[in-house]
């Protein structure tokens, strides 16, 4: 870990003030800015120890919990403060009842200790688990060292992405909660030196393309203050299915966040997001379109799954992933349709 200055921000204004010096690094990616916000620290401190992230200033934003630490549920939808802890959101009665896909995406993630620490804002900004990225002794990693190449292509790639990848980076976006937010069409509340803005969650993360080091559309110094999830007839019939080798405490190899509005078995609206093999949180509009207006059956679920993975790109060991992804989605859709609500 490189030396840094530790600052504690009592409130949002103080945090933004401290973040302003990062804004000077305009053009740099948010995650590479010299000032980093510290929420739970479960991504940031980990990557600083590994020498992957080297901020000069670490601004502790846990004091913002008073302003941005609440969960509000109402007729319009759900508001989640950025400083809400994963564990608290996962256990919130309204979230569990009305947005089960969110509760499940959180409670199936990490461990209870980590969920007690980690914030929702930090969670969506967690970084890839690509081991070539996390180990700085690999020289080639376009995400960590722009322009250096990609050591992962051609290596053991079981944990890599097959959707949205480029020839510059095949890293998987590992988070679970982001899938739920993407599926439900959430928006992100952002405050920055330039003021407030709200963007669709789907636009928060970027595809790697030829700039995998720029992971989000946040500008340096910008602060996520919360998420809004619109209400909809599909949110109660929703679930998160996570497939992994062990039963718990592991990132997904495949996942599906699905929500359905059914009318006598016919899909009025479907929401689908995929994980475990995606370059960024991945809403599958293709799968949704394939389902809309059709009875939800094994056959229509298969067709949706085929559409979702039509563009998958495989490299080596990861050849099985599109098939696993399809099966995961089919299973999730059928399970979701069978939910008693």
């Amino acid at each position: 870990m490189r030396p840094f200055r530790y600052e504690h921000a009592a409130d949002r204004e103080a945090a933004l003030q401290a973040g302003r010096s990062a804004a000077a690094a305009a053009g740099e990616a948010h995650v590479r800015a010299p000032v980093q916000y510290l929420a739970g620290g479960t991504t940031l401190i980990d990557l600083m120890k590994l020498d992957v992230m080297r901020p000069e200033v670490v601004v502790d934003i846990n004091g913002l919990a008073r302003q941005h630490g609440e969960i509000r549920s109402g007729p319009d939808g759900l508001q989640l403060g950025a400083l809400v802890r994963m564990a608290d959101a996962a256990e919130h009665p309204a979230v569990r009842r009305d947005y089960p896909v969110i509760a499940q995406s959180l409670e199936l993630a990490a461990s209870q200790q980590l969920r007690n620490m980690a914030s929702l804002g930090g969670n969506v900004l967690q970084r890839t688990r690509c081991n070539y990225f996390r180990d700085v002794t690999w020289a080639a990693c376009n995400k960590r060292a722009p322009g250096s190449g990609c050591a992962a292509i051609g290596g053991p790639d079981r944990g890599m992405a097959v959707l949205g990848v480029s020839e510059h980076c095949i890293a998987n976006y590992p988070g679970d909660f982001a899938g739920a937010l993407a599926a439900l069409g959430a928006t992100v509340d952002i405050e920055g030196p330039g003021g407030r803005r709200v963007i669709p969650f789907e636009e928060l993360h970027r595809l790697p393309g030829d700039t995998p080091h720029i992971e989000t559309n946040l500008a340096p110094g910008e602060l996520i203050t919360g998420f809004s999830v619109p209400a909809g007839p599909w949110t109660r019939r929703s679930l998160y299915l996570k497939i992994r080798d062990r039963q718990s405490y592991e990132f997904a190899i495949a996942s599906a966040a699905v929500a359905l509005d059914l009318d006598a078995g016919v899909v009025r609206e479907a929401r689908v997001a995929l994980g475990g093999m995606v370059a960024k949180p991945w809403r599958s509009h293709e799968a949704e379109a394939a389902l809309r207006g059709h009875p939800l059956t094994e056959g229509s679920a298969q067709a949706a799954a085929a559409a979702a993975f039509a563009q998958a790109v495989v490299h080596g060991e990861d050849r099985f992933k599109p098939e696993l992804g399809r099966r995961t989605l089919v299973r999730a859709l059928l399970q979701c349709a069978a939910m008693e609500i």
């Binding site: 840094f4 530790y6 510290l38 670490v58 502790d60 846990n62 990490a110 209870q112 039963q247 718990s248």
Partner: protein, 159 residues
């Protein structure tokens, strides 16, 4: 950085690097070596402590960030000579072998019960999955928690 850490009810004034984690502060600077380092990356749970009553990983927590909040470690679990019911149950059920994961398991187990996540064996298994035990004491850890949970009278509990 000058800082004051409150651990097991006692204040410790320390001068530490801003990079020092809570785990290293406990082990290397305060002399409380009960909390263990099994990975230093949030992957094993051996460093689990309670921060303001909630279980967290001390290896991913900066010491500087916990000033003013109560830290409880395994050394703070027993009251004098009286073991916490969870400690006694771990001994009775042989819920450890090498004992290296045990401090973290105990801190997690006590929190698991307090959180209300010990209602069934299945819940215990899931909510104890953030604590690896390479010796494979899992079935006995579950048995110990099952037994200790009803004995954890509220009066035993610190706020």
């Amino acid at each position: 950085m000058e800082m004051t850490l409150n651990v097991n009810g006692r204040d410790h004034r320390l001068s530490l690097d801003s990079r020092t984690t809570l785990l290293d502060a406990l082990r290397e600077h305060i002399g409380l070596t009960g909390s263990k380092k099994g990975c230093d990356q949030g992957q094993c749970g051996a460093c689990t402590v309670h921060l303001a009553g909630r279980r967290v990983l001390s290896c991913l927590t900066l010491a500087a960030a916990v000033q003013g909040r109560a830290v409880t470690t395994v050394e703070g679990l027993a009251q004098g000579e009286n073991l916490h019911p969870m400690q006694a149950a771990f001994i009775a059920h042989d819920a450890f072998q090498c004992g290296y994961c045990t401090p973290g398991q105990l801190m997690s187990a006590v929190a698991c019960v307090r959180e209300g996540h010990a209602a069934s064996d299945e819940a215990i298994r899931e909510y104890m999955s953030g604590n690896l035990c390479r010796c494979g004491a899992y079935p006995k850890i579950v048995a110990a928690i099952r037994e200790a949970a009803p004995q954890m009278a509220p009066k035993m509990e610190r706020a």
